[in-house]
């Protein structure tokens, strides 16, 4: 008789990897075999997690069709089962999994569509936060401005793709426009957020994408501006900052590394 911990490890392997011998020997059979009984739990596990992934990645599911999606999801669940019991958080690794999944190799754009859907799901359920007014910067000393950190709204997300993933996504909504999408139409830089409870997606120019994405990654103001200036030497920081506050994108501001006291 195995210790409970060992039994649970064997049971997990029986469900995920199909290696059921160790557990099957412990199960009363009667008129159903141990395998038939274990199958109920195996089905519960794979069907419920596949449904959770389908809820988060509906356009991916339409693009590859239901059966292929179930196959890809099964492989993903087997290799990367959830690490926590909050299903809305499951699937962060699914885009990267699809990028490396050999049967999808021809579909170079698929992983980016998945990344887009992950950011949309995130935007829909991210915590609420009160936007900060630009007046909050009034007290920041000029010498501290370069080291200013701006915390963006938790719903905001940024995605750059060499493919027109926004158009691919639109064409694959249930109520879809179903128009053919020209995959060579060029890439996009997208900002995802939430307005009035609805997820909003909009394309950004190269410089403001670089600026906002850098801030979202935790860069201080000067470093974020530098990234924008690399792609667009005419980047106007004052204007970009104004836009950011006007969009309600900033929820907190803090000088990241205050100037050192002068040494005696």
């Amino acid at each position: 008789m195995p210790a409970l911990r060992e039994l649970q490890e064997d049971f997990r392997r029986a469900l995920l990897e199909g290696a059921a011998d160790a557990v099957a020997a412990l199960i009363e059979t009667g008129d159903l075999s141990a395998e038939e009984r274990l199958d109920v739990h195996r089905n519960n596990l794979f069907a419920s997690l596949t449904a959770a992934l389908r809820d988060t990645f509906p356009a991916v599911c339409r693009l590859v069709d239901e059966r292929f999606f179930a196959y890809a999801a099964h492989e993903f669940i087997r290799l990367r089962p959830p690490a926590r019991a909050v299903l809305a958080d499951y699937g962060a690794d699914f885009p990267a999994f699809l990028a490396d999944f050999p049967p999808c190799r021809e579909l170079a754009w698929l992983a980016d569509v998945a990344r887009l859907e992950w950011l949309m799901a995130h935007a829909a359920r991210a915590a609420e936060a009160e936007p900060l007014g630009a007046a909050a910067l009034a007290g920041v000393a000029p010498e501290d401005t370069p080291r200013l950190g701006l915390w963006l709204h938790p719903a905001l997300g940024y995605l750059a793709s060499p493919f027109p993933v926004d158009r691919i996504w639109r064409a694959n909504r249930p109520e879809g426009d179903a128009a053919a999408v020209d995959l060579d139409a060029g890439g996009v830089r997208l900002e995802l957020g939430r307005r009035g409870g609805e997820v909003v997606m909009r394309p950004l120019g190269q410089a403001s994408f670089a600026f906002r994405q850098a801030l979202a990654q935790g860069a201080a103001l000067e470093a974020a501006a530098a990234r924008a200036l690399i792609v667009e030497p005419a980047f106007d920081l004052a204007r970009a900052l104004g836009d950011l506050f006007r969009d309600g994108a900033v929820v907190a501001a803090e000088v990241l590394f205050p100037a050192m006291e002068a040494m005696p």
Binding site: L15, E28, E36, D39, V40
Partner: protein, 289 residues
């Protein structure tokens, strides 16, 4: 009527429904007369707009939090982070009931998203009792523990499930959520007598009853019942509910529906049926709040 037998004097008996996201807006807009609502705790752990909406509902209804992810049966212990998320939600929503399951779903840090069966042994009893104590200490209140739906039984089990539950009540001070659909499903799949099981539960500890639909599937010419919450409550479950009411008194009862979620009025119709039955048995007002 308030049941004296189970000491539920603070909780007037009433019938509730499981609240699922597609019905949330309609509940807020129409405010149907229901005793209370129950939600799955894990669906609101991310915070955000869903939780804000639930707080709106909470102003008009008593709320019960039903957890599915704590994994009280895990030998590796319960996830402190998950317990912390549950506590945040309990503090914020102030539910009148908080329940979990006699099962496990986490092994090796992987969450298997199913309510998996335990062997009923002294070792398992110690493990569940310790996990329960940790959870109840953190939450500062007793949990209700739900009897699972069963599809298999371990050869080395030495304790009958109702006795296992009764011992957990004795050791931890937890209370019980008696799912009568699960009893019907397990009794059919594992070949035991549903009425005898119900009668063996410690009646005074039962603080909530669940009702739901199940599905019947064929495996090798043998019928297997699946607890899928995907249809109306079946006749044998209603019959056992009548017995449960007589046995446990008018404890808060809930109609759950998850798969093939119907229009809200269908769910309310099922709740009315439970209400009628509760009034028949109790002879009192088990009705709407």
């Amino acid at each position: 009527m308030i049941s004296e037998a189970n000491g539920n004097s603070a909780i007037p008996a009433a019938i509730g429904i499981g609240l699922r996201a597609p019905h949330l807006a309609e509940i807020i807009a129409t405010r149907p007369a229901l005793g209370w609502l129950e939600v799955h705790a894990e669906n609101y752990m991310g915070g955000g707009p869903a939780l804000t909406q639930l707080e709106v509902v909470r102003r008009d209804y008593r709320l019960s939090l039903h957890g599915v992810g704590l994994s009280l049966g895990s030998a590796e212990g319960i996830d402190a982070a998950h317990l912390g998320r549950l506590k945040l939600l309990v503090d914020r929503l102030e539910p009148f009931l908080v329940s979990e399951h006699l099962s496990w779903s986490v092994s090796g840090g992987a969450y298997l998203n199913d309510l998996l069966p335990l062997p009923y042994t002294e070792e398992a009893l110690d493990i569940v009792a310790a996990n329960l104590a940790q959870a109840q200490d953190a939450l500062g209140r007793p949990l209700l523990l739900e009897n699972p739906s069963g599809y298999l039984r371990f050869r080395h089990s030495t304790i009958a499930e109702p006795d296992f539950l009764a011992e957990l009540v004795r050791r931890s001070g937890c209370r019980l959520l008696c799912d009568v659909n699960n009893i019907v499903v397990s009794a059919s799949n594992l070949g035991f007598d549903a009425k005898a099981y119900l009668d063996a539960l410690p009646a005074a500890a039962v603080a909530e009853i669940h009702l739901a639909g199940h599905a019947a599937t064929e495996r090798g010419g043998r019928t297997l019942l699946i607890d899928d919450h995907g249809s109306r409550v079946a006749a044998p479950v209603w019959a056992l509910y009548r017995r449960a009411l007589a046995h446990f008194g008018l404890v808060p009862s809930l109609v759950e529906w998850d798969r093939n979620l119907p229009a809200l009025p269908v769910l309310i119709e099922e709740a009315r049926r439970a209400e009628g039955m509760a009034q028949d048995v109790g002879g009192g007002d088990a009705g709407t709040a």
